[in-house]
Symmetry: D2
Subunit: 339 residues, 4 copies
Amino acid sequence: MIVVLRPNLPAEEVDKVVAEVAKMGYQPHPIRGAIQTVIAAIGDERVNPSLETLTAWPQVETVLRVQKRYKLVSKEGHPQPTVINVNGQQIGGGQPFCIMGGPCSVESEEQIMTTARAVKAAGATILRGGAFKPRTSPYEFQGLGETGLKLLAAARKEFGLAVITEVLAEKDVELVASYADILQIGARNAQNFALITAAAKTGKPILLKRGMSMRVEEWLLAAEYILSNGNPNVFLCERGIRTFETYTRNTLDLSAVAILKQETHLPVIIDPSQGCGRADLVIELCKAAAALNADGLLVEVHPNPAEAWSDGQQQVDFKAFAQLCRSLKPFIAAVGRPS
Amino acid sequence: MIVVLRPNLPAEEVDKVVAEVAKMGYQPHPIRGAIQTVIAAIGDERVNPSLETLTAWPQVETVLRVQKRYKLVSKEGHPQPTVINVNGQQIGGGQPFCIMGGPCSVESEEQIMTTARAVKAAGATILRGGAFKPRTSPYEFQGLGETGLKLLAAARKEFGLAVITEVLAEKDVELVASYADILQIGARNAQNFALITAAAKTGKPILLKRGMSMRVEEWLLAAEYILSNGNPNVFLCERGIRTFETYTRNTLDLSAVAILKQETHLPVIIDPSQGCGRADLVIELCKAAAALNADGLLVEVHPNPAEAWSDGQQQVDFKAFAQLCRSLKPFIAAVGRPS
Amino acid sequence: MIVVLRPNLPAEEVDKVVAEVAKMGYQPHPIRGAIQTVIAAIGDERVNPSLETLTAWPQVETVLRVQKRYKLVSKEGHPQPTVINVNGQQIGGGQPFCIMGGPCSVESEEQIMTTARAVKAAGATILRGGAFKPRTSPYEFQGLGETGLKLLAAARKEFGLAVITEVLAEKDVELVASYADILQIGARNAQNFALITAAAKTGKPILLKRGMSMRVEEWLLAAEYILSNGNPNVFLCERGIRTFETYTRNTLDLSAVAILKQETHLPVIIDPSQGCGRADLVIELCKAAAALNADGLLVEVHPNPAEAWSDGQQQVDFKAFAQLCRSLKPFIAAVGRPS
Amino acid sequence: MIVVLRPNLPAEEVDKVVAEVAKMGYQPHPIRGAIQTVIAAIGDERVNPSLETLTAWPQVETVLRVQKRYKLVSKEGHPQPTVINVNGQQIGGGQPFCIMGGPCSVESEEQIMTTARAVKAAGATILRGGAFKPRTSPYEFQGLGETGLKLLAAARKEFGLAVITEVLAEKDVELVASYADILQIGARNAQNFALITAAAKTGKPILLKRGMSMRVEEWLLAAEYILSNGNPNVFLCERGIRTFETYTRNTLDLSAVAILKQETHLPVIIDPSQGCGRADLVIELCKAAAALNADGLLVEVHPNPAEAWSDGQQQVDFKAFAQLCRSLKPFIAAVGRPS
């Protein structure tokens, strides 16, 4: 870390800070500059306490971090991309582009079965569907619960698709894991470390959505909680961040794909449905995701979006989804990936 | 709700939307305007499904909500301010301004006992201290757990202060509730509805922090989860929102106090420590909170902030805390509240 | 507009608001709802005064706009895409993808000449280069001024490239217009309506960057200032918005391309250099821009970025730029556009 | 500056960066750390070029600034607060709290005269009123121009109030300066350096509003443009920043008062009207501003807000303004300032 001292600080005051830096486990190197002194503090920033507490002292102007705070998710110690096996399907690295599709909420047997058939026909290999739904208001539909999980499992059996579904509560982790092939941690729980840790311990692959106002660094540290609990199979899913813009529900941060490809070996999935909240923009954003060499997509699909029990405005119908899958092929080919 | 149709829509297309609005349980009133038609949809927006799904139709430009989505937390049906009883102490309404102080994390018996003595002497009536800590990185100190809870309980016994502490996991709710007088739900869990509901069911007062990028409406709806689970005792705690500013850790949204006083009967607490992340600004922000007639404060206090095990940069020492409490008195008097 | 009244308002109070709505030039249609009354106010919202002022009345809860505020930039009255002629080169609509490249700042004859040669060889048809630079600090390099403009003109003559450069001051508009083929209005001046209007009146094509925290609606209204001053030739340039993320300088809002293609007939250009502030991400973001069917790119290119006089961290060198141009071809082909 | 190199970099690569740092005018001090090497670069960061361009090199992970970028506005070289003389009235430092009030736009002689009388009677000493209005849409009222300026001057003569009004265009600077006592630079022009510089050169006091998404550092640097052009009389006016919140038009960043009091000697003014966009919150926010020891207020006042030609929703009427001024007195007294 770098401890920046206030300008024109007397030498004995500098010495006090140097002594404190040493006391906190770092090797201090003071450097007298043109305007002020800085202390380079040598040591492992992940093991030693943070020197940021020193800004509580009047001598200290600011403290700057030097080292990355994550290690297991980082490419430095793991340069090869992680490939995750989901029921025999390989995702990540140079593996085929993976399309996950299905309704926001599981609503009925007919709805999930017709949707599963349609998304499979279009090219999806994984079925999404919410059985437990995190809803802003307590008066909104909260999902079918275990009934929804059973319907997802029936669709898996019928169509050979893997199943991804969200888990909202620690107490449901075992139950959801007994039905799902991938456990989804939603944006609202992206720093719910109790839930994340419980999900990690099932050993199932985890799809970790980015929180609404999460920096990439914080997102990678949340993934670090999963890896440090012994589960290396994490998908990072960008789903839009909260900004001031009102024409879209969220602002899909597509540059996050490029950043993540530099920072981490974990596969990256884009959710354009949540990302913009508008069905009419979803196809275009999927093309951009493919062009950025994302590893896959998570897309909301519904037989009749206007009558969906949740978030109909961002779900595409079967025809649009089939067109979407077709239209992606040249972009996937252009990045040199099998589709 | 108001369904805004696209300009120049043929009459038969308007009729289709009108029919769908009726099918979804609303009474439709189409009004032909200068440029486009709008449909006023009469009905209870909290009971009927949201018409926002209609934006999936090409005929529909946008859908506007009319009604507030919350009811139990709203002043409309409950004009009198809620006063919460915490171990005999009344908080909210015209009751005395309440100061909660203590360390970010409980670190040791000596630390918590000296701090409890100091904050009580300065004028605090509630002791804060984290036993379970939500940390961005898995490599940071995660709190003393039950040991920390026991130390808080010992300090309560010794000094007669009530205790507030955060609960992070559903599985710990019972345990934390057996030690704490107020359960704190942190910003990262502000939409962790499983945890919120579990905490609500203990019957203990809940202090619900605003999420980092939560709109006031969403915050009130999260509180609505608690009230609709039978627990009327909720403190709303503003602790800063995430913005682009870098001189502070968060941007404390003090206007939220004024908004909340208009929207809800629940008491409002300000946390300036998290709110700005800088000990040197805390006193000034506390004065502003008092001037806005907030119901109380949550302030981080540590015997030696530079050596704190977490967030030392935003904790004030005993001397500064005593000065803070003294300096508030004229502002509390100016709003006509007992201090 | 829709005037939403407070719940349970007595009829005579409703009548007062109805009368005021009529007085302000609208035809009022009150509709009594389940919880509250709304008044649909029929009239042209762009001609009549905004009813939003009515929220100053205690009877009024909120006022909702129905109509779009822009007209000349809108696709409604102008469904065909605008194609802009820049020195004989057609840009927009189905015309070839347009690449604009060059340094952040013009620094010397050698720098601009070598860069012009390199960007032309790589496939760019327009040369960018700043002669007047808006710098956050008064102590930073402010551009070469007219000397820089002359160097750009010399490069145009030598290499047959059109020239785009920023104008910062009303007093320089004529001067800059006498050298440039496209006038750039930068993000900091995106709502500097005096400058925008002066630039519009030159009749030159204008490239209007999105302001740092501008909503798409506001951006389109700024463009409306140009069209309503008689200049139809406006490029809209997305260059990243300000968010909380720190791994990038700005967050490039690529979804804006898809939104703009629905809202307006004006061509859309992406500036990935400002958009992320990191040379290492630029190529990937350009591919995404091409996949979204943007009409072109504005890319910063420098012979030796580490020694650039401004913003070297986001400029690519000649080799990277040539690779960038090559790598775009399959994406441009995939959207069915000539490259 | 601190140049952070990538982990495990070979010594000869470190040497290349060290050489480049020296070439760019800094004295390099490489320090080999536990994980990576950092180079402390000694030199005046305001004079030498920024080393941030070095992040264009693959050897460099990031570059951290150490020094503050502003100097004339900083308290370091000017510890005493600046007191600004406006027509004999002293503002800033320990001088009386200054209230500026008046309409958003000047609309008519009657409007401005009745308002001037009312704000003076309530306690204001400066009259505000817009003659040139920056409006998001070209179809909105743009102000009365010079007619408005003349009305302001007439009100000054009649009531002995000083006048503050906004200047929008370089070409109008002389004209506006010939009528106004304080020139206001609005949020949309907060980084319009051509306008700022032209205004500075008139020698009139300048009120510089914070831009909508401006960091405090950038705001101070914009003020530095004024001081470095020879004009020391700058008021910094916080008027809300753009966030995701929708219950208010902007989020008033009251913590900026406390930060500015630490960073700069310039006086700080709060504009709660723009800051929240809601008349019903203005009084409360004014109290908070007084409690934070701001130097004054800028408040929008209108005889009949519902019929205001601009922004009626955020203007208070005469009765509310008089109540506002009365209610501030105990808070002003509590900070020990004359009212």
